[in-house]
Amino acid sequence: MPALLFISILLIAACGLIYELIAGALASYLLGDSITQFSTIIGSYLFAMGIGSWLSRYISRGLVTQFIWIELMVAIFGGFSSSILFLTFAYTQGFRIILYFIVIAIGMLVGLEIPLLMRILKDRFEFRDVVAHVLTFDYLGALGASLLFPIVLVPQLGLVRSAVLFGIVNAAVALWGTFLFKDQLRSPQPLRVACLLVLTLLCGGMAGAKHVIAAADDSLYADEVIFAKDTRYQRIVLTRWRDDTRLFLNSHLQFSSRDEYRYHEALVHPGLAANSSARRVLVLGGGDGLAVREILKYPNIESITLVDLDRQMTDMFRSNDVLTKLNGGSLASPKLHVITADAFPWLEQSTDMFDFAIVDFPDPTNYSLGKLYTTAFYRLLAKHISANGMIVVQSTSPMFARQSYWTIVETLKQAGLQTFPYHTYVPSFGEWGFVLANAKGATYSPPRQLPKDLRFLTVSAIPELFEFPADMQPVAAEANRLNDQNLVRHYDREWRDISH
């Protein structure tokens, strides 16, 4: 029998095994528990191959044509299997359904291959040679694939490209087939065109593999992404839909331009308006300049120090037109000193004193961020606050994360501060919490006057912010400490409960 024929059998066999391995690896990576994933995928795949073999009996005419169509279908299903699965995982809830659908589809098609081939070859050669040779090369191909997969393909190409590459191999074998078996084909031309089409499609897929992840990524934001950047510290994404601009840091929504004024007015004014002698303000986090915009409404404020970890954030909010319109160009104010630094060590080395400090960090989603919500941190911060000064801390939602919220309050207390918890409603976040804090013995009463151009807060509404309805009232909590960060655990559990 011609060697070329057997090389194509070997290639087909390799392709079949590669798709199976890819599905198994991908499922283990994405879903975890590799033993279960691999067993169920191998099981379904083999079972589907059985169905394919059985179905082969119903194909009675035009064996070669059918065989070539099957190859092309395997090429498409197999070649795009990883891309489709990655995107499904990102876009939909139906990952498992699509996964098993693809595995079974490929399995059935691959199951058809060998019986058909044998039948094609049985008239040309001795049957016992056909069986022996076809199966030998089938198994050899499988061996090659199983070695190639972990040693070369995954490390060098990754799953998406490996799948596409083997799709190309399948399609090439199909094209080759039209020449190998040309005497058994009545009209090979349309088949060849189809092969070339599939090949082109797959080569395009190879070129576009890089974009698959990016696409999967963007799909998670509902709106058009107008800006996306990976900085050393985070992924900054800005989206826009009509007049609504949203900022996401590491996929966590930071504000929506439709209602951010509610959040930032509530963050700044209840504390700052109550202290008419305040001169110097510190902002930790808040590189978007929106809190600074509110602070600039007070003529008595002489200097504002903004400490943010990420220079790219402050640069972007200083230069981008859409964003400077949002923050009113606050980051260009001559009163403002922008310091690019990690807040905790910066406070440690600084000797500056402030009359008001705004702590606007991202929520405590991990232990690194959680350090900025500890007794040690608040104690250090308090050392930088003047006798009549105050601190305000954005403190997640007292409704969705009630335990977390009251943990932050308790942490401030354990750091030796008096606390004045309050909350407000921000439509894009829901019910949101803040805590004002000052030194023991100092006083606080809600402001009797506010800057003129506010859109949300009124003098009479402020005292009500300090009232907590029954479902947000204090719960027993323990302080969050560097050596016992219970806040991150509470936070994780509470938000997880909500999103399920």
Binding site: F86, P155, D244
Partner: protein, 541 residues
């Protein structure tokens, strides 16, 4: 509008973690590995063996002749060895306003097993790296920590307590919180852990297991507790029908971690001590970037004027009532000697040292390495690097992150201290093996171990220095804790009056608290004799 309200009620709570997004994070984390070219660079890794003391040790062992002294100095007390025990002896003498002493340390940097290093990223430990939060009984330790500001008005400084997350274990292909295995256990395993905990609780209640050990040993030991010293902890587990592989690993890990010995070579009394002596009033332990070097550093600063560095003591003789101590080019004379160097060296150094005294001392060989990471390996599955990171069923003990106690939110680089007690073969064989293999061998062994949990580790590490310690720490072998020879070391000897052993070896358990207790006790004994006072404050030993 509807478009904007994907979760109509909660409307994407600010900065929350909806499932979709954590999935996205996951994709971002794994994408580099799965998609695109995996960049396989064989990055060169620099490094060498550091702090080697084999040579000096072998010179002492082989009694290599040293040049005759050219200088003479006289002190009431000479302390030999500047590890924690020697430094603690000096600390005690100074506290008692006694100034007529000197401390001789062979190395250029005192600290011994609490020595540390430093690079442009962080300080890092070479061996001892933590102290469990001392309870009220550990008065000496508390006194020291008060002096250095770690304990104020009964409250521990938050920044010195190990930050969350403290420990994690890589088991069955994933990370879990804490070192006690929790993944893959059957009900039977859990029942055994429970039974084990109950037994330890009972031992704790006996008050026989204390830190320092001497306090609890002074109380009469119930026979069943003293009997623990006559079997290995592995045998004891068997006797108790505790055969869960997870529990056995856990106990074996503790023995290797604390004593450098496998469970099969550790006295059950010592094995139980690890669990039964600790009752924490605060979540700890206490730790610093340079590990216990933090303590050493402060002691050295305070006692600097008494310390002689590069002063290898090679001979100690006694004529009449004076000791002659030869170190470097100087002959020191002293009324009393506090011998805080490892005790196994005594027969090679001290004239007239009865060999029977040290015959039961067994030491565990160790290897530690400090890895400089120019970038951090990817963490799959959203877990964060803990302070102590352990691999289930690895021969190593895992690694400690030196800059874990950083108050930064973001660290780009790190130093990891990797620990490996060579416990698989006998100490003698392991020691030979340790010396035989070159740096490259150990580097590969370490990176291969770590690659199981961090596949990209080789791309992160730029430097890997290794410290080999043939006699790293005393081993509480079966029978050693209650042996006559161990007890004899804590008492004066005919012919060696006014010479006090002080190394942590004497306790059979090598930890900071024991080193301090032995050092302080020796200092008190020496003082009592020198001042000739009757009121001996020394605890009965």
């Amino acid at each position: 509008m509807a478009r904007h309200q994907p979760l109509a009620i909660f409307a994407m709570p600010k900065r929350s973690k909806p499932t979709q997004l954590s999935r996205r994070e996951f994709l971002a984390a794994t994408s580099a590995a799965l998609i695109g070219l995996g960049m396989k660079t064989d990055k060169p890794i620099a490094g060498e063996f550091v702090n080697e003391s084999f040579q000096l040790g072998h010179m002492l062992r082989d009694r290599t002749p040293f040049p005759a002294p050219t200088k003479k100095e006289k002190f009431a007390i000479v302390i030999v060895g500047g590890g924690m025990a020697g430094l603690s002896a000096a600390w005690q003498l100074e506290r008692r306003s006694f100034r007529d002493f000197v401390l001789l340390e062979m190395d250029k940097q005192p600290g011994g097993n609490s020595r540390w290093g430093e690079n442009d990223i962080t300080a890092y430990p070479w061996a001892a790296h933590y102290v469990p939060v001392p309870n009220a009984k550990a008065t000496l330790v508390r006194e020291l920590f008060e002096e250095f500001g770690a304990l104020k008005n009964g409250k521990w400084e938050e920044r010195y307590l190990c930050f969350t997350p403290q420990e994690r274990l890589f088991i069955h292909g994933r990370w879990q919180d804490g070192i006690e295995p929790a993944v893959g256990l059957t009900d039977r395993d859990r029942e055994q852990f429970k039974r084990f905990d109950d037994l330890m609780q009972r031992f704790r209640a006996s008050n026989n297991f204390t830190i320092p050990t001497q306090l609890g040993m002074d109380i009469t030991q119930k026979p069943d507790i003293a009997a623990l010293d006559r079997v290995s902890i592995a045998e004891w587990l068997q006797q108790q029908k505790l055969d869960s592989p997870y529990l056995r690993w856990y106990v074996d890990y503790a023995c290797r971690d604390d004593y450098g010995a496998p469970a099969s070579a550790t006295s059950a009394w010592a094995g139980a001590h690890y669990y039964a002596s600790r009752e924490h009033e605060e979540k700890g332990p206490l730790t610093w970037p340079e590990g216990n070097g933090w303590i050493a550093r402060r002691l050295i600063k305070k006692l600097d004027s008494y310390i002689r560095r590069n002063a290898l003591v090679h001979r100690i003789t006694k004529d009449k009532n004076r000791y002659r101590i030869l170190a470097g080019d100087t002959e020191f004379t002293a009324d009393s000697v506090i011998f805080a160097a490892p005790t196994f060296l005594a027969p090679y150094l001290i004239e007239g040292m009865p060999p029977a005294l040290t015959k039961d001392l067994v030491y565990s060989p160790w290897l530690t390495a400090n890895l400089t990471l120019d970038r951090l390996p990817r963490e799959i599955g959203g877990t964060e690097t803990a302070w102590d990171n352990v691999i289930y069923n690895s021969p190593s003990l895992g690694y400690i992150v030196a800059n874990h106690q950083s108050i930064r939110q973001h660290e780009d680089r790190s130093v990891w201290t990797y620990y490996w007690a060579l416990a698989e073969r006998s100490p003698l064989e392991s020691r030979r093996f340790l010396l035989e293999k070159d740096w490259n061998y150990w580097k590969e062994a370490i990176l291969t171990d770590l690659a199981r949990i961090h596949p990209d580790i080789r791309d992160c590490v730029s430097r890997l220095d290794i410290m080999r310690m043939g006699h790293a720490m005393i081993r509480p072998s079966v029978g050693f804790m209650f042996s006559d020879s161990r007890r004899a070391l804590t008492r004066p000897h005919a012919g060696l009056e006014r010479l006090f052993f002080a190394n942590s070896d004497l306790s059979g358990i090598s930890i900071f608290e024991e080193a301090q207790y032995r050092g302080v006790t020796a200092a008190q004994q020496a003082l009592a004799i020198i001042s000739g006072s009757q009121e001996s404050t020394a605890p009965t030993a």
